[in-house]
Point group: C2
Chain length 458, copies 2
Amino acid sequence: MAETINEKDQAKTIEELLVRTLINHELELFREEYFNLHPYDQARFYLRLSVELRERIYECLSPQEMADIFENLDADDEDYEPILSEMVPQYAADMLANMYTDDAVDVLNELNKEQVASYLTIMDDASAQEIKDLLHYEEYTAGSIMTTEFVSIPEHSTVRSAMAILRSKAPSAETIYYTFVINNEKQLSGVVSLRDLITAEEDMLIKDIMSDRVVSVSVGEDQEEVARTMKDYDFLALPVVDFQNHLLGIITVDDIMDVLDEEASDDYSKLAGVSDMDSRDRTPFRAAKKRLPWLIALLFLGMLTANLIGRFEATLDQVAILAVFIPLIAGMAGNTGTQALAVAIRSIATGDIQDESKWKLIFREAGTGLITGTTCGILVIGIVYVWQGSIFLGLLVGISIFASLIVATLAGSLVPLIMHKFNIDPAVASGPFITTINDIFSILIYFGIATAFMGYLV
Amino acid sequence: MAETINEKDQAKTIEELLVRTLINHELELFREEYFNLHPYDQARFYLRLSVELRERIYECLSPQEMADIFENLDADDEDYEPILSEMVPQYAADMLANMYTDDAVDVLNELNKEQVASYLTIMDDASAQEIKDLLHYEEYTAGSIMTTEFVSIPEHSTVRSAMAILRSKAPSAETIYYTFVINNEKQLSGVVSLRDLITAEEDMLIKDIMSDRVVSVSVGEDQEEVARTMKDYDFLALPVVDFQNHLLGIITVDDIMDVLDEEASDDYSKLAGVSDMDSRDRTPFRAAKKRLPWLIALLFLGMLTANLIGRFEATLDQVAILAVFIPLIAGMAGNTGTQALAVAIRSIATGDIQDESKWKLIFREAGTGLITGTTCGILVIGIVYVWQGSIFLGLLVGISIFASLIVATLAGSLVPLIMHKFNIDPAVASGPFITTINDIFSILIYFGIATAFMGYLV
């Protein structure tokens, strides 16, 4: 941010001033200064306050004004439930009614059913109905992130009347920069941008200036897919339709940026084996709660590996030096598997996978495993021979690495592909799981070979 | 996408028709059908063609028309150099001149210096100068992704004259939905949206309807930081200024979506230990080339671990059963380290780290390590005791897990924090490196304790 030191100091002073006015109950002065902030900064300031000071804000801001602030809180980072319970229920309901429907739904999705029902009961009927219509869409679908506050115009309007509609709807619509055009059956038939409208003659018909190459998404579409479409086509708004092409709502680019971010975080945390990460985990207990299920699952998988090695105890007893290379072989297999896994998951997430066949990906990964396996295998044979002076030990470790890398690369790419095939989110096949599975494979290979060629080692 | 089977078939038919017209040299018919596609689909179709058919496209499309297609290619996925070399140099230069400057710069950044110089020489002077102005900004800064095709209006204009300017600039400006306002010194003083303009009285002064709470970024700002700002504030365009607050360019939301995606991919691939992933890696050789450097580095680190265990060969010789638990302990340490690493890197990337002190994060992670370590340690003592019937072996493995998890959690969070402190991109501390480092720690702990309490084990 282009803030000079002075501006930063100034920002701090404004915050201090705001806090002071709240403490002194100078609510008129507070309002004046507070509305000078950007809505996002208003939201951040609001969140940092104590419950006591927040309650003073509710005294001096109307539910409408509070709605603007709430729209700027981040759905993934905040716990709405305690905040809503600070407010008088009628105030909270009025605020929710004044929010953009999609944002209100985001908030309500975090509450339990009774809470949602009680807010909807005391809300005005029109808003409650709009919210109910959106609430029944499954989370993470286009329907759940779309807004119903959009402007649509009939094909046979003139530019003049379209502009009049836009002017009147400008204060409440989420975007007026893209307007979707509907035919007599209320089906989506085109799109016209405000750019087109302001440069067109006022008497022209919308039908003649609109673009009928309009890309839409269906209401049940996965939000990640919607985000891809929006990003690829550089749209600012996408229309959402039902299976008969009726226009149900629109999705705006600001919501899509949040989706892109959310999905990226999601894939990332799964690769690392943390169920999800958010900034609310301010205590070690909350953080540990999210990591322990993975760790315990991995612990049992690890015990399986231990059990497996235990079966080769006779081999180990005779040639203790074998133990020295266990972490190397298991580690290399784990790392290669994670690489292949990440590539496969990204290919699936970005939709690249549709451009080429799955078999092609698998053959390519097999080839990659062959190349990396051969290179690392030969290197290892050399190093172990020089270090331990035994060509047989070198060959054993080298060949094990060679075979493990090929198997691990294939496992890393096959597992997510198979999951994708069965419509399971492939990101669930997290890094640690692939790593542990590859540990097992590589140890089987290593001790299998060692036991078979025992005679050369002792 | 809301495509019915019929629409998909139709899309295929259109593509086949387009290819047929190209082969038959029916270029007029081709143009007609081709321009019915969305620019993004035009770009995808174009990319799938053979060089021979692409050359026919250059015959029938003007450099201006080709520029629109080129703007829709994805800078990260495509190799521009071979494509440009298919074109007659003057055609390529004219096309670059007709692209939005920021997109042209993206293309030129992929070429070597001589190629850039030769295109700039044969380009018209005005365009060449605009491109040169942007080319000298460092990659991944606000300057490198901003566009200079924006509309700015003086504070003292009326709404009427501002609208007239916008109408005339609409065809060439990248966005007209946000217009930035400058004062007499050409410094950024406010912003006015098209929404505000169309709802305002025509005789009002811009000064009176503009918002002076305008958030800007400085030209040297990191693009990831810019993306965060844009996402948090839900802007469609951000102004870029120099240190004296002069307006240099704007960054539009479509470029930011690409940045968000790029940065997420980047962090993700580093966590997995692949230097970068892109869909151009269509051959095993290219894929292997990107993964081998990591694997070989990890191989040497792994040899270090092996060497370390080798020093405990005497211990191993006496108690072979110790080897059985090596992968379990090393694996658990590696997994915990990756979890802590991912959380720390995400906190840094999303800027959450600025909201709380680094010490707080470290204390929290230490606490988390203590909780996960205690839980897993106790579990392990129980399992090993039941399985192996030796309480001492159980205690040895359990205590090693306990200590390893604490150390690994701390290592996973400290390493990225230290790197961040020294302005090194913390994502470089990839998962595999943290894993291997934690292997070493955990094995030292395990064999250290084992060797010290040897008497109880044999």
